[in-house]
Symmetry: C2
């Protein structure tokens, strides 16, 4: 940073390619401060995590973050500082510099992060549009935790063995920056972060690439305790894992020959595992969810705060 908070704008020495994303969250839509589902600290962390996850999905190196904060009446200065502290914690953890932004009055709490990442050259980055027929589909980490966490907060399920992992997903998700970068450098063809849920996001990736992603629901890596949580909800676990959003894991496509190389790169990036959950074929661009070979629909599943 050359000049930050306190001037009209922040000044930063660039690297050759800049990568920018905006993510906005509002009380009642993306979190429930007003019902005490989240603390300001958790909201601050999560809002930045959502934005950084987009940089992860490009394989960019994180750089700076700019915060637009809308504060409602009754939200105290102390709460605002807590929120910023939550963001700052994740910023420190990821090597991101929060460089300022804008604070305004708002009818409800609003947290919008613009994040800027960098790359030395464009070829380091991965878009959604490069998946090829014959590729394998991989996902990092485990899925369904955020859906279970929301069900917990909503009282639809009770505390159980899924609790810690699920609430961690909801309150302090980890953007997969190191993993995204490793996947990019190891030759992934296409990548997206799982903010809307695998069923939706894999569809985006398939359509952007003009290919069909066949996802094998039996192969999904389930969050710890998800089977029990799903049973209590009277749903198959795959519905939470493929239909729930906000796990902020990465979904990517890579050549089958690069499988070992990618597993190795992810191990070196820090230990979040990879699961191979399907393959890319010619066909109507989008996604098909398969359970023991039979196409499944996700109708009626709604992931919302």
């Amino acid at each position: 940073m050359l000049c930050g908070v306190g001037d009209d704008a922040a000044v930063v020495r660039s690297r050759p390619i800049s990568v920018t994303s905006v993510d906005t969250m509002l009380d009642g839509v993306h979190f429930r401060l007003h019902e005490a589902w989240s603390t300001p600290t958790q909201i601050g962390w999560r809002a930045l995590a959502g934005a950084l996850s987009d940089l992860a999905a490009m394989g960019a190196q994180t750089g700076e973050a700019y915060l637009a904060l809308g504060l409602p009446e009754g939200f105290t200065e102390r709460q605002a500082l807590e929120l910023v502290r939550g963001s700052q914690e994740l910023a420190t953890h990821t090597g991101t510099t929060i460089l300022g932004g804008d604070v305004v009055s708002a009818p409800v709490l609003m947290v919008s992060f613009t994040v800027v990442g960098w790359a030395q050259q464009q070829s380091e980055l991965v878009k959604r549009s490069g998946a090829l027929s014959g590729d394998l589909i991989g996902v990092t980490g485990r899925l369904g935790g955020a859906a279970a966490g929301l069900a917990l907060l909503d009282g639809q399920i009770e505390s159980g063995d899924c609790e810690a992992a699920a609430l961690q997903r909801v309150h302090a998700p980890a953007p997969r920056l190191a993993e995204g970068r490793a996947l990019a450098l190891a030759g992934s063809h296409a990548m997206i972060d799982l903010s809307d849920g695998l069923a939706t996001d894999a569809g985006h990736l398939g359509r952007a690439s003009g290919v069909l992603l066949e996802v094998d629901l039996d192969a999904l890596p389930l969050e710890r305790g998800l089977q029990a949580a799903a049973a209590r909800l009277g749903r198959p676990a795959w519905e939470l894992a493929a239909g729930g959003g906000e796990d902020y894991e990465l979904c990517f496509c890579a050549a089958a020959k690069d499988r070992e190389r990618i597993e190795q790169a992810l191990r070196e990036a820090g230990g979040v595992g990879v699961s191979w959950v399907g393959s890319v074929v010619e066909g109507e661009p989008g996604v098909t969810l398969l359970l023991r070979g039979e196409a499944q629909q996700l109708e009626g599943f709604e992931h919302r705060w």
Copy 2:
């Protein structure tokens, strides 16, 4: 742009120094859509103008803009497109590329722009902190128009000869990008844009520079028709010119010896004039407003939508 809307993030080839600012506006706080004071097109223009004005104040070249848009129930797709068209009009006019952003549901209309400008080297840019004792204080254009425009919209004054200029200020302000760049290259020591009003913004500049700005209220360049509008409001015109915000002109400090050079640079930049409105002295850092040598207070003046 290398890759924009539709991927996880926008990818841009950088120039050596990046300059970033965020500006957020909400219905009921920064505009009044709900009372039809502004159209969506005007709101879109003005939100981008507010953000670009910060780049102008640094002397940066405008680059890209990212829009976070919060849409309330009942705000139609057509209105949203109108809003984006308003922003796009100014973007085209200024050579800015709107590269995407985020659209969310919100309780009221929220428009937040993050703008990124560029410079070849840091020395091209002007901060708030470089004013020196002995400098002259300059402002571009005319002041008080936005305050008169708000009074018009609020029914406090009636249509008169100030109407067109005042409403233009309120609905379609022009960020002084070319002027800011010209002022930076012509050697201005410090600069700020007039978003909160000269009395406030000159104070920011004085405190950032550790000097006292003595502003001569008689010398302020008044918006066309401002005298009449002020008379109707029962206020001296300088109160609107120094206390009203959102004129989005530039206030800068420069060495007296550079006066001619700066006037010439502004003429070449496009014709918005410069007025010399005071001088920088040693003293308690901040601003003093002087009327025929007597210090004035701006108490009780509130510029608000």
